[in-house]
Symmetry: C3
Subunit: 213 residues, 3 copies
Amino acid sequence: MKFATILVVIEVGGTIAFAMSGLLEAIRKRMDIIGVFSVAFVSAFGGGTVRDVLLDRRPLFWIQHQEYVWLVIVLALTAPLWLKTSRHQMTGKAMEFADACGLGLFAISGATIASSAGMPPLVSVLMGAITAVFGGVSRDVLCNQIPKVYHDHSPYTLCAVVGCAVFLGLDALDLAPHWSTTAGICTVTGSRLLAVALGLKLPAWPAVKYNQD
Amino acid sequence: MKFATILVVIEVGGTIAFAMSGLLEAIRKRMDIIGVFSVAFVSAFGGGTVRDVLLDRRPLFWIQHQEYVWLVIVLALTAPLWLKTSRHQMTGKAMEFADACGLGLFAISGATIASSAGMPPLVSVLMGAITAVFGGVSRDVLCNQIPKVYHDHSPYTLCAVVGCAVFLGLDALDLAPHWSTTAGICTVTGSRLLAVALGLKLPAWPAVKYNQD
Amino acid sequence: MKFATILVVIEVGGTIAFAMSGLLEAIRKRMDIIGVFSVAFVSAFGGGTVRDVLLDRRPLFWIQHQEYVWLVIVLALTAPLWLKTSRHQMTGKAMEFADACGLGLFAISGATIASSAGMPPLVSVLMGAITAVFGGVSRDVLCNQIPKVYHDHSPYTLCAVVGCAVFLGLDALDLAPHWSTTAGICTVTGSRLLAVALGLKLPAWPAVKYNQD
């Protein structure tokens, strides 16, 4: 019970963080309220929706848990107010933290769902990464920019991949689900926070001077 | 029978209007005939396809009604001719009208389908809006621009949302389907035409000077 | 048996060519390793995934054949090395050839799958084209540019459409599957190679001076 409560708290925090990232980007692009809500919605639920469609699971996460849709609606309607009154720098740090928590929870929940559906480890890791990252990718596509997670060279998807691998490895060793889940989430969130704190960057490919034409 | 005929007429008109919006955008981006057809196709059928995939309904609308695919093919092949010979200003007004009709029909049909599939009201409204709007969103993503419906501040999706709510409300009151459907479509189409005629604009979010980095 | 082996060889070659096209585009956009892998993955498997989702087939192609996912992973990790040491002009020609083979195989396999699922000819041709082309379209959307296949006016999708029609026509005449498949693939690949060699261009629509606003 207590473990489940912690997961719900993280889930709410992660959903808010993901929705806020879409909301801020949409405001920056000067969208109207419908655009702001739509981009926030896709940022929060896009990853899980794509995972469920690929695995053919229904009902979708946000259809089963309508309270999260209401949460995003309220957020879209009130956020400007909230953003105005909050201290911005503090909010930025809080957002990074909530986003890293969401990354961890969404990645491990995606891997758990795929694994329970009988998917092999490689596919489960991919599904965990898709769940955690595809909302942000869709947000950037709707905002007409190259997906930030592909482009800013800060480790993000990689943290999700590593954490999912840790989770599946421990799960294969028959560790109690509580522990493997906790270890997985902590690996993702911890490595992500560390990467941000240390300003780690993924190496770029050497720019091959390749002329396709 | 007569009511069904009216719906088919609106459906054909709406499909033509949606396909034309994609066609014109693709021509403007100087795409070739395949690009013009593809964007017209996605504009016309994208919304219903996403709805059916999210609700796990098969066969898809355009697979069940191939005559609409042929309609878009003929349109893509003949439209330049047609556009050249028609009076442009008149065409623009006719397009706005047909588009508003399509918006109404597609929104209410989406909400009806979701509601019949046992979805709760909130999800049915979202499905109505997705059916009506997602084709245009996909069109703009393929044309590499921010979705117009998120960005031009003219009420569009909002009309669909309000009309779907009216439809579901009347339906909950056990009004005959004919009447609730008619009222829903008229609300969407009427409010959209009014918004265009009066040049109504949705308020933008105050541009919060928020520095995410 | 021998025929099946040839098909696998083409499939591997086509998958590599499609993945490489995404990989090169992602490197050009200066993405990190995760972005490079993601875009390569979507380029290689996007078309087949959309086809399977539209037809409601599971498991997806790349879930059933994980070896192809490993192939793309290895490709993403080693390609820069490989690109550096290879002669670039030769690579470009080899890529065009492999891409044309992939186009042929993916188009005909998509049409075969749709046709076996009981789809009518028009839908089977569309599914063949979607299988062959949608990976490239997704690649360009993720790289924030207008899909090249809609825009460069070189016949590509059209070759797939014509080849699928040839395949379905011969199939309807009760030709042995071996022959109709071979004829279909050769039509797609041959016409594509011819189009590239001769520098054929699809005519653009006359730029109608149409003012939508």
